[in-house]
């Protein structure tokens, strides 16, 4: 087994350190090493967005980043979004709009929506659809997801 790498990083505002194999993806590290299973594996090759996280302010597919690359960086995952007593407005909007069915895509969509609204608080429908095109949902037909993001934009802006 290859020698493990020691990584010091920040996840959801907290200092974290871990050991990982050089071949392990960030998604594997999150799920198997840190037991943060909110990021999901749908394809493991960058095509579905179920593993979306925000790395140093940028939306990335964690299956396409190596765990070792996290050294000195700052990561936001779905687990860090809600306050103890309060969901994030995007999470509320997903619930209010029934924007999930099976829910496997939901953490990825919420992280992608957050990255969008962080940089564009008032997106048009087309901008939302363009931005979220990297996230696949097989259940909803996207209608209610797009509406949830529109609603969240209203409340956050």
């Amino acid at each position: 087994m290859p020698k493990k790498v020691h990584v010091q990083t920040t996840i959801n505002g907290e200092a974290v350190e871990y050991l990982c194999e050089p071949r392990q993806s960030l998604l594997e590290v999150l799920r198997d090493v840190l037991h943060l299973t909110g990021a999901k594996e749908g394809c493991n090759n960058g095509n579905c967005g179920a593993c979306s996280v925000i790395l140093d302010g940028r939306l990335v597919n964690s299956c396409l980043v190596l765990g070792a690359e996290l050294e000195g960086k700052s990561l936001e995952t779905i687990e860090g979004l809600a306050e103890p007593e309060q969901l994030h407005p995007i999470q509320d909007a997903f619930l209010e709009n029934a924007a999930l069915q099976c829910g496997i895509c939901t953490p990825g969509f919420i992280m992608a929506a957050k990255a969008l609204l962080d940089q564009n608080p008032n997106p048009t429908e087309h901008e939302i659809r363009y931005w979220l095109a990297g996230n696949l949902c097989r259940c909803t037909g996207y209608d209610k997801i797009v509406r949830a993001v529109q609603d969240a934009a209203q409340t956050t802006s």
Binding site: T37, N47, Q91, L95, I104, I110, I128, K144
Partner: protein, 751 residues
């Protein structure tokens, strides 16, 4: 009989009970399951579409550091070649085993051949490369019509066609042929002013759920096996694993984790028995996860098909005769949904003279699994476009044609039984009245099309128990895994009976040892049948609570009434107590109250929908854009309208994907060449407009609130509706799915 009425909870839109867990990433899906001492399994798959397995040498893999066990088909217990009743549909046990781990032959690329358990997934993967399999590669057969030819390579040398009950002399890839017939089609065509006959083909498509299959198994030395997994039916997993491994069902406990989509594709087992076998060999818990490529190549899909439809009609728009020839690819083992296709092909219509022939044919592709209204979409693509052609020829509005020819309750269908009541005309009227249908279509290369889709729905068995909690809420234990919000729709039906808010119900999906037998979440049955069981359990609770109130007031139970959540005594002292108040006083009146309900309803009530679509076809690239989409559907009674709309929207979009670009692409060696989400492209949100879902409610007399299942119907109409719209836009009728740009350009004569 359920009538249209207003309810307090049913028909409202509460937040789903599992919502917070699912938007915070806390909900645990199958792959999220963790336990101590876990080993990881990986599966070796056949690289060939058709090959004899001459030998498998696992010694090098077993010697690899970190490997704990290797299994092949040799590790299966011997089984008879018998048909096992698995609760929902029967299956040949030998076929079940063979599909899980290939015996003598690998029958498709991706067929599971061996599996390894190791200390981590990467080590298991390394070991797969050390398994030496000697194959004798055989010629594959991929398309249904090729497989039906006399000289086609045979998948199963000992398979003979079941020709309407008789076994054929020669072996064949045609597993079965059946025919339904009624009236005199020849006479019908003679009465017709127009007769249209067309041939259609559809390619293999996949359910495409985002969560790959997963399983963790732990076998104890006392013979008890536990499996944690995502599945559409924990009891279905229990039944299959028990048959495949020849373990009594009572020794198998299946714990359903949250499930990331299924659409019919998470009923059959693939890696669950493998995880179990690896755990039996190692004594450790073993987790096996599929990759996306494994999912495409080894699971699902729904059949490719060849369909021929002929219909005759008079100039005033009456159908006089109809015929369908349906040849479906079953995949490597018999069992395509051609029977359901035959049932659905002309279901919306009154057809007095007709025949339907169905062929179930094996090919070198994964064994097909259910996919949302299995078979119906293939059939409707043909029938609903032939109808469009007839309407055009006789100059009739396609919606008027449907109203005129709608089957009414009691009309005898081609396959025998009488048609039940369903809101066909109501959905057509809803589409006609919708602003979409009368909106002007502007621009060039645009067109509007319509089509309908019919699905019979299923009832099957469900169990629910309800515990009354001292604070006036209830906990509800059910066996239906929640794929799309059914915790809410089931809880709401219990809440309605007990006059409490939906939020006062805590629903739990339980494992197979903790809840009564429950069939799969499939067949559009969950909100209907498990909802029915919840209704029954709540009635049981209500009756017990009435007895408690009577005890409290020292009156006869007959003197206690219950309405709007309040118990009252009808004579003597005016006494009243609400559900919560009474729940607080259970200890004074005899202790806990537990209600139970089971259901096996036989009147699921079909669902039907009419879809309207506007498309624009790019004449240079052949790309079809969906400009506007409206889908109407009879939901009987929508328990949670948001999730009913969600089913309609999601189903319509799966149908759009099937129509526009989804397909398994094979090379001449019979290998799927596009086994990724990049190359097997499902619709993204950028490909779509909003989907306007219009709920029509014609109550189902077979359910206390009038509920009809809604999940499957919406996938059926889109390919035909889009093909009809493309014809309006281009003047060309497409008869092959998917209508990908290349096929469109070819049909337009541009390439």
């Amino acid at each position: 009989m359920a009538e249209k009425k207003d309810y307090k909870v049913v028909g409202t839109r509460p937040i789903r009970h599992d919502g917070v867990d699912k938007v915070t990433g806390r909900a645990l899906y199958g792959a999220d399951f963790q336990t101590v001492g876990l080993l990881h399994g990986k599966v070796l798959r056949s690289p060939h579409a058709h090959a004899r397995i001459k030998s498998i040498d696992t010694s090098r893999a077993e010697a690899h550091p970190g490997v704990r066990a290797v299994v092949t088909a040799k590790d299966f217990p011997a089984v008879e070649d018998k048909i096992a009743d698995l609760g929902e549909g029967a299956a040949n046990v030998k076929d079940l085993q063979d599909n899980v781990l290939a015996g003598d032959k690998a029958l498709y690329k991706g067929h599971q051949v061996a599996a390894v358990a190791a200390i981590d997934p990467h080590t298991a993967e390394e070991a797969l490369e050390l398994i030496d399999v000697e194959y004798e590669v055989l010629p594959p057969v991929i398309k249904v019509l090729d497989a039906m030819k006399e000289d086609a390579p045979l998948l199963h040398e000992d398979m003979h066609t079941d020709e309407m009950g008789e076994k054929s002399e020669k072996p064949s890839n045609i597993a079965a042929h059946f025919q339904h017939k009624q009236g005199d089609p020849e006479k019908g065509y003679a009465e017709a002013d127009v007769v249209v006959e067309q041939e259609y083909t559809t390619e293999t498509v996949h359910q495409g759920y985002i969560e790959p299959h997963n399983a963790t198994a732990l076998y104890n030395p006392d013979g008890q096996l536990t499996i944690w997994c995502s599945t559409q039916g924990a009891f279905a997993v229990r039944g299959q694993v028990s048959e495949i491994l020849q373990i009594p069902v009572s020794k198998v406990k299946v714990v359903p984790m949250e499930i990331g989509g299924g659409f019919g594709g998470k009923i059959n087992v693939y890696i669950k028995p493998i995880a179990a076998m690896l755990s039996m060999k190692t004594g450790k818990p073993v987790k096996v996860l599929m990759s996306r490529a494994d999912v495409f190549e080894g699971t699902g899909p729904t059949p490719g098909s060849y369909v021929r439809v002929k219909m005759g009609a008079t100039n005033d728009g009456r159908i006089t005769a109809a015929e369908a020839y349906l040849a479906f690819e079953a995949g490597a083992y018999p069992g395509s949904p051609v029977g359901a296709a035959a049932f659905c092909v002309f279901s919306p219509y009154k057809v007095e003279n007709g025949t339907v022939d169905g062929y179930d044919v094996v090919v070198n592709k994964p064994k097909t699994a259910a996919y949302r209204a299995p078979g119906a979409t293939n059939a409707a693509f043909a029938a609903e476009t032939v109808i469009d052609e007839i309407c055009e020829k006789i100059g009739m509005d396609p919606l008027e044609f449907r109203i005129l020819n709608s089957a009414t309750e009691g009309d005898i269908r081609i396959d025998g039984p009488p048609a039940p009541r369903v809101g066909f005309i109501e959905t057509v009227e809803a589409a006609k009245d919708h602003p979409h249908y009368s909106a002007p279509l502007e621009g060039e290369n645009v067109g509007r099309g319509v089509a309908s889709g019919y699905w019979p729905n299923f009832g099957m068995k469900s169990s629910v128990s309800i515990n009354v909690t001292g604070d006036g809420t209830i906990s509800l234990v059910e066996g239906s895994t929640d794929i799309g919000g059914t915790r809410a729709s089931i809880a709401m039906q219990a809440a309605e009976v007990l006059g409490i808010p939906a939020e006062s119900v805590t629903p739990t999906v339980a494992d197979t040892d903790s809840v009564g037998y429950t069939d799969v979440t499939g067949g559009s049955r969950t909100a209907f049948a498990t909802g029915y069981a919840a209704y029954e359990a709540a009635q049981d609770v209500k009756q017990q609570m009435i007895e408690r109130a009577a005890k409290l007031w020292e009156v006869d139970p007959e003197e206690v009434q219950f309405a709007d959540g309040v118990f009252s005594s009808v004579n003597g002292k005016e006494q009243e107590i609400d559900f919560k108040g009474l729940a607080e006083r259970l200890d004074e009146t005899g202790g806990p109250v537990v209600g139970r309900g089971t259901a096996d309803p036989n009147q699921p009530g079909p669902s039907i929908g009419l879809h309207v679509v506007d498309v624009e076809v790019d004449p240079d690239t052949g790309k079809i854009d969906i400009l506007r989409y409206t889908a109407t559907q009879d939901a009987g009674k929508a328990v949670h309208p948001s999730y009913v709309e969600g089913q309609i929207q999601g189903g319509a979009v799966q149908g759009i994907g099937w129509a526009l670009n989804e397909e398994y692409i094979y090379n001449e060696k019979g290998e799927m060449t596009n086994a990724s989400f990049l190359d097997y492209r499902i619709p993204t949100c950028l490909d779509l407009p909003m989907i306007d879902a219009v709920i029509v409610e014609v109550p189902n007399p077979g359910h206390p609130f009038g509920v009809r299942g809604v999940g499957e119907t919406p996938i059926i109409a889109p390919p035909a509706a889009i093909a009809n719209a493309v014809y309006r836009a281009t003047g060309v009728r497409l008869k092959e799915l998917p209508m990908s740009p290349g096929r469109v350009l070819k049909a337009m004569g541009k390439i």
